[in-house]
Amino acid sequence: MQVLIGAVLMLAIAVSAASAETVYVSNEQDNTLSVIDGTSLTVVATIPVGRRPRGIGLSTDRQKLYVAVGDDNRIDVVDLKTHKVGGSLPSGDDPELFAVHPDGRRLFVANENDNLVSVLDIPERRIITEVEVGVEPEGMGVSPDGRFVVNTSETTSMLHVIDAETLELVDNVLVDTRPRVAQISADNRQIWVSSELRGSVSVFDAATREPLAKIGFEIPGVPRELVQAVGIQLTADGSRAYVALGPANRVAEVDAKTFKVQRMYLVGQRVWHIALSPDGSRLYSANGNSGDVSVIDLKEKEVLKSIGVGRSPWGVVVAP
């Protein structure tokens, strides 16, 4: 998914028309997707999908949206023109998060129940191989150059690095407790990993897996236990990172060069996943417990609006 967002961002340089974007949000408890128009900032459609939709990602041609529907053990494929589920893909047991490889052919899917990452061939609609990882695989990321894939295992608390060609494990690195999201920087050189229970983000050198930095997020008046880092978004120019802080109801803005926290945005309740707009001017956050999406204007440094969506919004993706 990271790659896609990276690709989308790069595309945005060519398409400068601001905010013509469309935002897709998975509503875990409603079995739907909410479609938000980026200009009017209103919900313009609600798409029924399979049961318990969580991870979502755009196809590389941006014509389709893949939706992991965990309770149906499959990935639904939504046609973005018709706003209908056009088919589905096998995913292995209980898919939660996945990464779309830049080759457009493969999905790397975390199967939480089986300690596996499944590699799915999209045109052939079959699982090519499974990679054994730690207990409860969760976060999935792929490098923009397509050479490696990263996965986090929540209970093992490791970052697993998979060679995207040989499909074998290259390295396993112990990270902070209950890692959730892993994202690779646009230049392919850094891996950012969030830890939900430590409330931290660790940055690793992608080539050596040596730690480069660890970022903490203290918020006055918020108990340490409630500062839980989940979603990460890195800007295409490598200058900033955004981190969703779960039940702290904040999104942190981090200087990606100095690794210093610059500011906090107050958003809705239990914010897990976030997405940058194609031109990098906005950030959208899915707030699970308040049932809304916060829109942050990153130039004006303020929260513009919250938009009510379905129950328990989980994943969010922005398409140009």
């Binding site: 300690n115 207990v135 209970t155 093992t156 396993n172 209950r178 430590r198 236990e225």
Partner: protein
């Protein structure tokens, strides 16, 4: 593939590639009577506790594949009527340093007091006596099972958040039930509830599964519960002798909470949030039944030893023990917040589930119960009120 993983693990273990660290974990249980089933839905759970420890060790070994560490569980059961000395000595002689203790309070105190126990660390997964965390606390004893005060405080916070402040306390006759009743009274005082009526359950424990047994209950329970009005009946029946009879049979149409009805518990099969679904699935695959609070406490204990080994990158018990007790230690226990050990009494701070028979109802601490340190420390005895002196 497996070979590849082994190679990776060896590589990670550093230059001394052949040195896989082995960490022996003891499990000390005691011989018990089989529980009398109350409901036909009850499944045999004679491996309660043990099964949780086995899963925790299996989870550790999945991670251990990658870190070059191996965990072995050594199980010992103390025969009925015996003291734990022989079992503790046997574990110590095998090289065990960490002991998951699934024992009643009196046996546990004997176990931690044997001479061989001085160099061992015990993790209490069953005994909920607050005294074990207070005047009877020991430096070689941690507790993953919540204390009765924690359970009572968790329930009280929920009941007060519902404004069900007038309680009818029904207490069983066992010493544990009386201690739980003490904890409920303490919680009522702390959180502003009033115990308007209190009664002790006086009937003999019977066999509920007789033909037409429900008829007897429908005469006994309404008569027993015909008291002045209250908001909620709070029951303490740890041995499961009568608590199950109370919901839906009371004289007044009022809810039942405590050890039955709406339960305050460290774990329940109904929880699937915060990733709990995966833990429940793994447990069910291993044990063939649902995971209970004793299983959870034992799983938590085994996982704590694992975390200490992974994070301290050591198999040295002194290093691991000091890490377990340090503020750096944090365990992911599938209850939405990191769990750690209170330095003042060795108790694991943790959220407490408020569970209905089929669904999770809430989790305490409830919003608004604030604390200058961790909100989890609003449950049970806080540092300043602790009577523990190590």
């Amino acid at each position: 593939m497996r070979w590849f993983l082994v190679l990776v693990a060896l590589f990670l273990a550093g230059s001394a590639a052949a040195d896989t660290q082995t960490i022996l974990v003891g499990l000390l249980a005691q011989e018990r009577d089989a529980a009398q089933p109350v409901s036909p839905l009850d499944r045999d759970s004679s491996d309660e506790g043990v099964a949780g420890a086995r899963l925790g060790i299996a989870d550790n070994n999945t991670t251990g594949r990658f870190t070059g560490q191996r965990f072995v569980l050594i199980e010992r059961t103390i025969p009925r009527g015996s003291n734990p000395t022989d079992a503790v000595r046997a574990l110590a002689e095998k090289g065990v340093k960490f002991v998951i203790a699934d024992l009643d309070a009196s046996l546990l105190l004997e176990a931690v007091s044997t001479p061989e126990a001085r160099d061992l660390l015990f993790l209490n997964t069953r005994a909920s006596e607050d005294a074990l965390r207070a005047e009877s606390c020991r430096p070689n004893l941690l507790h993953t099972a919540p204390s009765r005060a924690m359970l009572a405080d968790a329930l009280a916070q929920y009941l007060m958040s519902k404004r069900w402040r007038r309680w009818f306390l029904v207490t069983g006759r066992s010493p544990g039930d009386r201690l739980m009743a003490d904890a409920v009274r303490r919680a009522a005082t702390r959180f502003g509830a009033e115990i308007v009526v209190e009664k002790e359950w006086a009937f003999k424990p019977g066999n509920a599964r007789t033909d037409t047994g429900h008829v007897t209950l429908q005469t006994e329970i309404p008569a027993f519960t015909q008291v002045a009005d209250y908001d909620v009946l709070v029951v303490t029946d740890e041995a499961n002798e009568f608590g199950e009879y109370l919901p839906d049979r009371t004289f007044r149409p009022r809810p039942v909470a405590g050890t039955h009805g709406l339960k305050a518990t460290a774990w329940s099969p109904v929880s699937e949030q915060w990733g709990a679904a995966q833990l429940q699935d793994r447990f069910e695959r291993l044990a063939g039944r649902m995971m209970g609070a004793l299983d959870y406490a034992a799983w938590t204990a085994a996982r704590s030893v694992g975390e200490a080994a992974f994070r301290s990158r050591s198999s040295d018990p002194a290093v691991m023990t000091s890490y377990l007790r340090s503020p750096d230690f944090i365990l992911s226990g599938f209850k939405g917040q990191g769990q750690s050990f209170r330095p003042w009494d060795g108790q694991m701070r943790q959220p407490v589930l408020i569970a209905g028979p089929r669904m999770l109802v809430s989790v305490s601490p409830q919003p608004g119960y604030l604390h200058q340190g961790s909100e989890l420390d609003t449950l049970g005895f806080d540092g300043r009120e602790s009577r523990c002196r190590f």
